[in-house]
Subunit: 473 residues, 2 copies
């Protein structure tokens, strides 16, 4: 019943006739939110006996996880990343090391080839920074990954707001927020030129009998001379299945949203209440439309944790148990890393709404109606988690269905409490219920590129900025 | 018989008593020379019906190869790389695209995680450039690879001499050769600081009961402020099995050799005659000694191709057949890419010995006694190949034994003509004969780090520059 309303409402959205032609069956996008490190979202949970994140250094831990997600109906594994770590008054706080707050952390991109080799459908979204990676090297990495995964790769574009990272890379300091996005915008244009504008689709002949590997007339020199980057030459990689990887974006600032409206194909939203999420979804779709894109060409996902049990009371008890491992001082330095605000130094009854910083505005707004003491208490427990859903598998599936109906969000980025238990719990108890509600397909589709799964085509759509740099017919 | 002399001579080398204490059984190092591209050493062979390099884009091609090498007794897979490609008069020659001369080419580093997952002993050496990769990001990549491979990784350090690469990265032009090595030297120091000088060996406790992941007193801030690089902060990766990856080097210039004498643990030598190879081996060992290192702490490997058949005549016929696919114009642009010399523009009877360039001096010296026309004819066929050995499996094993005896070289980097045929041929026919000669162990040893296999210990030796940056006991 709710589904009929839901789709009726969807197809009416923005009065876009284009939506009527939508051929891809819409289903809930399922992502798994991971870092190549010890703690996810709530600091301190690494120490749980039922959590395997101390095995993060070993490939076998990751291949097991990827296979479970692949078989369990997940669409993608999202690998968050930053070169940074917490600083308080310019120093690494001891608790950050003791509780492994974003330190240590390995390169997540290097997991993907091994995980692609043991999975069939699962796609991989990985963070790469327009501030720290060379555009040409970055494009080569993503093109190579796209080849090796058969087109199952996405690039989560970040501009990096970490002060620690500026010092590690010997930079003079943090580039101003809006300028970082200006740089990112030029970075994307250059990336598209390389990925789309050098080799024509049919440049590669691989004709052994005729002794022609590629047709020189169909391979073009890219020239770019911008404000921030310069590049001239032929791109080193032949066309990969998707060409441009699926573009993810997660920044919540005004500049970030403007960037997303133009470039993103999937936006990772924050916000732990329905109203805020609905506003974000509506606003990003409108912004996409203003850039000449179909509002449906941006998929939105939101962070979600869930615990399914035989009863809601049991699930609540399990949540209590999980969060009993949350570490307050670790949460404090983690919050400071993301927002520039030290919760421990605020007046306990001060209003969070008055704070403004360059970083993490969303994490501040979330507590706009709370006192600093309440915000500190809440963040110490929940950490970065957005929605937390508790109940039986059926109840959680219904909650999810309602969230989708009320906010128009396309999917979730599932943040586990413990690995692999949280995923097993979701796959065993919630996924079958989501299938019953037709929010997930009964049978996972065969192997295809990530973008085909999202939008029914392997290459970026014509209204996406990547398309303008295409060469050939 | 020859073996006894060989070892007697070895242990007497340089009158080093240290050598007497050598506990690692010395055997011929077997490397496989590959690129993540179409042609290896001889241009044009991609078109052979029995060569699978057109599958280079697919993981399955590489996992099959790695498993064959792993089971066949190879020690390492060497993945050569450059961001560059051929230019003639500043343009990409059409033949470079048509015959796939270093173009297209994918990122080789991204193969390693997937190959490590399906192999047990095989190590992986991969090229990374001190001119184009950020030191911090590069160190993170190698530390992550070292974790994921269980310590089976080596870094082939290059400074990059490609003009095409300078344009792709928007640089002002090629940095002068010796300055590139000055930069590389500082780059290595910073890399060692990060890899060895931030986390003490026992910093990680992973104590779930005591709720301590790492001991903050054993994790240190690295500070570097040099002529070319600046870095301040904690390294993001906890200690990996080898810490510093095994360091490879292949440059043959004076500055390159000075660099190798200080930093390299394996040197990839060029030169296709015994005398030149012996001189290089002797000279690099002496240079190591001048830097306070044991001359045996640098292993030397040389490029080698081999064809084993029932008779030498048959092997010669097979070589003819292989090289019938060599493409002269492709070889010409490949030679120009590496040396800066266009063979087609030289006076046919001009002496090669008079040429001097910034690039590829070894490739010029190789033809010092030849006319330009002869050099052109030779390079068109053989390409970059060094030694080519032909005969029965037993004959080739004997030739190899003699080469080792006469030059003191430690091993080979095997360049195939066709994949997987050339490796199968070597593994089936030559490897058993090398075992009979005790040049290879009868049973491959169990999984261990690359450096343990080479030198009996996982971490860099005390006389290696990496060691000076170690912290803690």
């Amino acid at each position: 019943m709710w589904r009929r309303c839901f789709f009726a409402w969807l197809t009416g959205f923005g009065q876009h006739e284009r939506n009527q032609r939508e051929t891809v069956t819409r289903h809930l996008l399922l992502g798994a939110f991971e870092v190549n490190a010890l703690n996810i979202s709530s600091q301190g949970l690494w120490a749980r006996p039922d959590h395997d994140s101390t095995e993060y250094k070993h490939l076998s831990r990751w291949t097991r996880l990827a296979q479970m997600l692949d078989r369990g109906g997940f669409d993608f594994l999202f690998l968050a990343d930053t070169y940074g770590y917490p600083l308080l008054s310019g120093e690494v706080p001891a608790v950050a090391i003791e509780q492994a707050v974003d330190l240590p952390k390995n390169d997540p991109l290097l997991l993907i080839p091994a995980l692609a080799a043991v999975t069939e459908r699962l796609s991989f979204a990985v963070t790469s920074s327009t501030t720290y990676e060379e555009p040409f090297a970055n494009a080569r990495r993503f093109a190579t990954l796209d080849h090796l995964t058969g087109g199952r790769v996405a690039w989560n574009v970040v501009t990096s707001s970490s002060v620690a990272a500026t010092q590690l890379f010997g930079r003079d300091g943090l580039i101003a927020h809006d300028q970082r996005y200006e740089i990112a915008s030029e970075y994307m244009d250059l990336s598209y030129k390389l990925l789309e504008g050098s080799w024509e689709d049919d440049a590669v002949k691989a004709d052994k009998v005729g002794r022609v590997y590629a047709d020189p007339d169909k391979v073009h020199v890219v020239e770019h001379e911008g404000k921030y980057f310069k590049c001239k030459g032929v791109f080193c990689c032949e066309p990969s299945p998707q060409r441009t990887p699926v573009i993810f974006q997660a920044g919540a600032s005004k500049a970030g949203r403007g960037f997303a409206a133009r470039h993103a194909e999937v936006v990772f939203l924050q916000g732990s209440d329905t109203e805020s999420l609905r506003n974000q979804v509506t606003s990003i779709r409108q912004a996409a439309e203003e850039h000449g894109r179909d509002p449906r060409d941006i998929k939105t996902v939101v962070g979600l944790s869930a615990i399914a049990a035989d009863s809601r009371a049991e699930a609540e008890a399990q949540l209590e148990d999980y969060l009993s491992y949350a570490h307050q001082q670790a949460a404090r330095v983690y919050y400071a890393m993301m927002t520039g605000v030290d919760l421990a130094k605020l007046e306990a009854d001060g209003a969070m709404s008055e704070l403004r910083t360059e970083l993490g505005q969303t994490q501040l707004e979330r507590y706009a109606k709370k006192s600093a003491a309440d915000a500190y208490a809440d963040f110490s427990k929940r950490g970065l988690r957005e929605f937390i859903m508790l109940g039986t598998g059926g109840e959680i599936a219904e909650q999810l269905a309602e969230l989708v109906e009320e906010t128009d969000v396309d999917g979730i980025n599932f943040a586990p409490f413990a690995n692999p238990g949280s995923y097993e719990n979701f796959i065993d108890r919630v996924v079958p219920e989501l299938r019953d509600l037709e929010l997930l397909p009964t049978e996972p589709s065969g192997p295809k590129t990530f973008r085909e799964g999202l939008f029914g085509q392997a290459h970026a759509k014509k209204t996406h900025p990547a398309a303008q740099y295409r060469v050939g017919k």
